[in-house]
C-alpha cells in the first residue's frame, strides 16, 4: 500500500475553495484583526441584514419559548409537532466526501472472485460518468480490500474497518438503498443537507429549529462542528450555505462551533470590558435596533436583536458546556483519548452528546476526506480509525444515559462510490469514483428500529434492487420522528408553500420505524 501522506494533491475535480476568514490570514496582528472586525460589524449594523453576521461566527438563534399559537409576534415562535414526536434531538455525523459503501456497510462477498473483471455493460446501462472516469477505457471490478464478519444478535456483516461500531451493530438501522441525483460534491452535499442542490434553501436543522423551537434558550437550537482531519485528501469545501436558514428567519441557521479554546468567536468579553459593560452595550444596540424596527418594521431587525441576546447568553452557557472536567473516566474509555483534543472528531462526538444533554436540537458533526478517488484502502482506514471508536462511544454513551430512545443519530455521506476502480487497479490499491445511484447510511435511536437493514442493491452495488430511498424520503422520515408531517411543515416564500422535501413525492419509510 502507498504510505499515508498528510497532504495529498486534490484529485477530485469539483472542489471549491475554502473561504478564509480574516482570522486565517497570516502576519496580521491580532489587535488589528479585531479592529477590522469591529468596524465591519458596525457597518453591518447600519447597512445589512442579520445574515451578514453569520460569517463572524455568531449566526444565531434565540430563545423562543412560546408556541406560535400563543405568541404575540407570530413570526419567530415555533410551530408545534403534528403528532407526539419520538425524537427530541438529532446528531448527524456527516461523512463529507462520500465514504464508499463497499468497504463500509454494503457487503458484497460475490465481488471477491471478480477482481479486475470488467463491469458488465448491462449493469452500467449508460450511466453518466464524472469527468474523472469518463475517459477510462476499462471499468475493472474492485472488491473491498477489507474483510467483513458477522456481529451482534442480528448477525450483521460489519467491515473490519469499524471494529468498535460493530459492537453497537444491533443499535443500527442500515439503509443500503439511498440515492440522489447529484454526482458532484457541492450539489450532493447541498441536496442532503437542505433538500435541494441549489444554495439558498434552509438546512434540515433550520427546519427543525423553525418547527420545534429551542429546548434550552441559553444555547443555539442548531450547531455545526467541523472536525480536524486525520488526513487531507480531496477536501470538501464546507460553508454556511450547508447550514443556513435559507428563506427562514436567520435565527434558525446553525452556530458553527470552532475547535480550539474559543469555540465561539468574540464570545469572550474583550480585555478591560466587564460583563456589565457588555450588557449595557448590547442593551444600547438593541435599543437602536428597536427604534429602527419601529420605523421600518423589518422582521430581520428583531432576529438581529435576538442574535445579540443569544451571544450574550452563550457567554455563560458555553464555558460550562466546553469544560469536560465533569466527565467520568468511563467517558474517555468510550470516546478514546483523542476526545480530549479540541476539534477532533472524537471531541466533537463528545461535545454533541453534551449539547444534546443540554437540549440542543440538532448537532451536525462534519468529518471530511472520504473522497477516495485513489489510495482508497490506505486513506479510508485512516478515517475509519479516527472516527470508529468515538462513533461507537457516542451511541453507547447515549444509550447508557437513557438518551438514545429520543435522540436520532445519523451517519453517512452525500452519495456512493463506484464498484469499478478509478485509475489502475491493484489488489491493495485502487480508487472509486462518485456514484449517486446507491449508497449506504445508518440511523440509530430516535424511534428507529434497531438491528435491521433496509433496502438492497444489486450484486455490484451499482443499482438498487429493492426498496429505494431517495434523500427526500430520508428527510420525510427524519421530520416524522420529530412529529412533523413533511407535507405540512411549510413556510411561505416567493408565493409558494416551501418545504424541506420539495415538490416531488416523498415517503416516510415506515418499515424502519418502531
Amino acid at each position: 500500500m502507498a504510505s499515508p501522506h498528510p497532504l495529498q494533491p486534490d484529485l477530485c475535480s469539483d472542489h471549491g475553495g475554502e473561504h478564509p476568514t480574516i482570522w486565517d490570514l497570516p502576519n496580521i496582528p491580532l489587535g488589528l484583526k479585531q479592529e477590522w472586525l469591529n468596524l465591519e460589524t458596525r457597518r453591518h449594523f447600519l447597512g445589512r441584514g442579520a445574515k451578514a453576521l453569520a460569517w463572524a461566527g455568531l449566526a444565531s438563534i434565540l430563545g423562543r419559548s412560546l408556541p406560535r399559537a400563543l405568541a404575540n409576534e407570530s413570526s419567530s415562535a415555533p410551530l408545534l409537532p403534528h403528532f407526539a414526536p419520538k425524537a427530541k434531538r438529532a446528531i448527524y455525523l456527516f461523512m463529507a466526501g462520500a465514504p464508499s459503501q463497499f468497504e463500509t456497510w454494503d457487503y458484497k462477498p460475490g465481488l471477491s472472485s471478480m477482481f479486475n473483471q470488467d463491469l458488465p455493460e448491462s449493469v452500467r446501462g449508460g450511466q453518466q460518468l464524472t469527468g474523472m472516469t469518463a475517459s477510462q477505457t476499462r471499468f475493472p471490478v474492485a472488491p473491498s480490500f477489507y474483510k467483513f464478519a458477522q456481529h451482534g444478535q442480528a448477525g450483521r456483516w460489519c467491515s473490519e474497518l469499524f471494529p468498535y461500531t460493530a459492537k453497537v451493530s444491533d443499535e443500527l438501522c442500515v439503509i443500503k438503498s439511498l440515492h440522489t441525483e447529484a454526482i458532484n460534491h457541492e450539489p450532493a452535499i447541498l441536496s442532503i443537507t437542505t433538500g435541494n442542490m441549489f444554495p439558498g434553501k434552509p438546512s434540515v436543522g433550520a427546519w427543525l429549529s423553525y418547527g420545534l423551537g429551542a429546548i434550552n434558550d441559553e444555547l443555539p437550537t442548531f450547531v455545526v462542528m467541523i472536525s480536524k482531519m486525520p488526513i487531507q485528501v480531496n477536501v470538501q469545501a464546507l460553508s454556511n450555505r450547508l447550514w443556513s436558514s435559507g428563506f427562514l428567519s436567520p435565527e434558525h441557521a446553525a452556530v458553527a462551533l470552532r475547535s480550539g479554546s474559543n469555540p465561539v468567536l468574540h464570545l469572550k468579553d474583550p480585555p478591560g470590558v466587564d460583563r456589565s459593560v457588555r450588557r449595557a452595550m448590547i442593551d444600547g444596540v438593541n435599543d437602536l435596533n428597536h427604534q429602527l424596527f419601529d420605523r421600518v418594521g423589518d422582521p430581520e431587525i428583531n432576529a438581529r436583536i435576538s442574535q445579540y441576546e443569544m451571544a450574550f447568553r452563550m457567554q455563560t452557557s458555553v464555558p460550562e458546556l466546553t469544560n469536560f472536567s465533569d466527565e467520568p473516566s468511563s467517558t474517555w474509555d468510550l470516546y478514546g483519548p483523542k476526545a480530549k483534543e479540541p476539534g477532533t472528531f472524537a471531541y466533537n462526538c463528545l461535545m454533541a452528546r453534551r449539547l444534546a444533554e443540554r437540549g440542543v436540537r440538532f448537532s451536525q458533526v462534519f468529518l471530511r476526506s472520504w473522497d477516495q478517488h485513489n489510495n482508497l484502502p490506505t486513506n479510508i482506514k485512516i478515517l475509519a480509525e479516527d472516527s470508529d471508536r468515538p462513533t461507537q462511544g457516542l451511541i453507547a454513551d447515549l444509550k447508557r444515559r437513557g438518551m438514545l430512545d429520543d435522540t436520532l443519530v445519523i451517519w453517512g455521506g452525500e452519495f456512493g462510490r463506484t464498484v469499478y476502480s478509478q485509475g489502475a487497479l491493484k489488489p491493495q490499491d485502487y480508487g472509486r469514483d462518485h456514484h449517486p445511484r446507491c449508497f449506504s447510511m445508518w440511523l440509530a435511536g430516535g424511534g428507529v428500529k434497531p438491528g435491521i437493514s433496509y433496502g438492497e442493491t444489486d450484486d455490484f452495488s451499482y443499482n438498487i434492487a429493492k426498496d429505494p430511498v431517495h434523500i427526500r424520503d430520508l428527510h420525510a422520515t427524519m421530520l416524522h420522528q420529530f412529529g412533523f408531517d413533511h407535507e405540512r411543515l411549510t413556510h411561505k416564500f416567493q408565493g409558494l408553500e416551501q418545504k424541506l422535501t420539495g415538490v416531488l413525492p416523498a415517503r416516510v419509510i415506515r418499515d424502519i420505524l418502531l
Partner: protein
C-alpha cells in the same frame, strides 16, 4: 415484576404507530389484517424457506395446523394459545417471538391477533378488529389542554420554567421543560404547578434542584409518562412517592444517588418499562428494561 399487559398500555401511549393507508373501509379478515402482521414479523423464520420449530405461519391452513409438536392457535381462546403466549413475553425471555432480538410486535398488532383468536380465528369471515387508524393514546394522554394552555404557560413563565404542548393534538399533554435555567426549578416550583399537574405528561428535570420533597409534587401528576431526574438530589427513598404514577413508563435516574433499594421503591409502578441508572450506586444495572431490574 412488571406485568406485560400494563407495559402495553404505556408502550401504546408512547408508540407512534404507523398508520397504514390500506386500513379503512375494508372489513377486517385474516387476509386483510392478520396475514400482513405474520408476514411482516414471522414468516421469515416460519414460512416457505424456513420452518423454525416445525412451524409455518404463511397461510391460514399452516397457522391452524400448528407446529410439529402442537396446535398454536386455539380458536376462541388466546390465553391458552401458544402463539399468543410467545408474542406477549418480555424481550428478555428466551421464548419470546420474534426471536433473535427482532423487534417485538406492537401492542396494536397483539390486540389485533387477540381479537382474531377470540372471534374464533375465522378463515375468511370478518371479525371485530380494533381500529388502528388512530393511536389509542391520542384520546387519552391528558385532558384537553386548550382551555388551560394560556394560564399554564403564564404560570410556568412566572416560575421560571416552561410548559409546552407535546403536539397540536390537544390531548397529547404538556412537557415540563427546565433546560434553560435548571437551577431555578426547585421543589417549591413543582409544588406551585399543582393546578396544571394533570396536563403534564413529561417532566424534563435533569440538573434541577429537585429533591425528594419535589417527588411528592410529581406524584400528583396522574398522567406523567416520562420523567427525567438525571443529576438531581433525589434518593431511592423519595422515589417511593412515585407509586401513584400509574402511567409512568420511562424514568431516568442517571447520576443520582439511587441505590440498590431503588428497585423496591419502584416495584409498584405498573407501567414502568424503561429505567436508567447509569452513574448511580445501583450501576451497573444499566439500560435494562425495567422488568429485568425490578425482578
Amino acid at each position: 415484576m412488571i406485568s406485560y399487559s400494563k407495559f402495553l398500555t404505556l408502550s401504546a401511549a408512547l408508540a407512534l404507530v404507523a398508520i397504514s393507508p390500506q386500513l379503512g373501509a375494508e372489513p377486517a379478515t385474516f387476509a386483510t389484517r392478520v396475514a400482513p402482521v405474520l408476514e411482516k414479523n414471522c414468516t421469515g423464520c416460519h414460512g416457505e424457506n424456513k420452518q423454525k420449530g416445525g412451524l409455518r405461519l404463511d397461510t391460514f391452513a399452516h397457522v391452524m395446523r400448528g407446529s410439529d409438536d402442537r396446535v398454536v392457535v386455539k380458536a376462541g381462546d388466546f390465553s391458552t394459545s401458544e402463539l399468543h403466549r410467545r408474542i406477549i413475553l418480555p424481550a428478555s425471555d428466551e421464548d419470546v417471538m420474534p426471536s433473535d432480538g427482532k423487534p417485538l410486535l406492537s401492542s396494536a398488532d397483539i390486540a389485533l391477533l387477540e381479537k382474531w383468536i377470540a372471534a374464533g380465528a375465522p378463515a375468511t369471515e370478518p371479525f371485530d378488529a380494533p381500529a388502528l387508524a388512530r393511536l389509542p393514546i391520542t384520546s387519552s394522554a391528558a385532558p384537553d389542554y386548550r382551555p388551560r394552555l394560556a394560564a399554564a404557560t403564564a404560570l410556568a413563565q412566572k416560575l421560571g420554567v416552561r410548559l409546552v404542548p407535546r403536539s397540536i393534538v390537544p390531548t397529547d399533554g404538556l412537557i415540563l421543560r427546565t433546560a434553560s435555567a435548571p437551577t431555578q426549578c426547585t421543589d417549591a416550583v413543582l409544588a406551585q404547578l399543582a393546578p396544571v399537574a394533570d396536563l403534564i405528561v413529561e417532566a424534563e428535570l435533569a440538573r434541577t434542584k429537585i429533591t425528594d420533597a419535589g417527588l411528592a409534587s410529581l406524584a400528583l401528576c396522574p398522567n406523567l409518562q416520562i420523567l427525567d431526574l438525571t443529576q438531581t438530589a433525589v434518593t431511592a427513598q423519595g422515589l417511593g412517592a412515585l407509586h401513584l404514577l400509574k402511567n409512568l413508563g420511562v424514568l431516568n435516574l442517571t447520576n443520582t444517588a439511587a441505590d440498590k433499594t431503588t428497585a423496591a421503591s419502584l416495584k409498584n409502578l405498573p407501567s414502568l418499562h424503561r429505567l436508567w441508572l447509569f452513574g448511580t450506586p445501583a450501576d451497573p444495572v444499566i439500560a435494562k428494561p425495567a422488568a429485568a431490574v425490578v425482578k
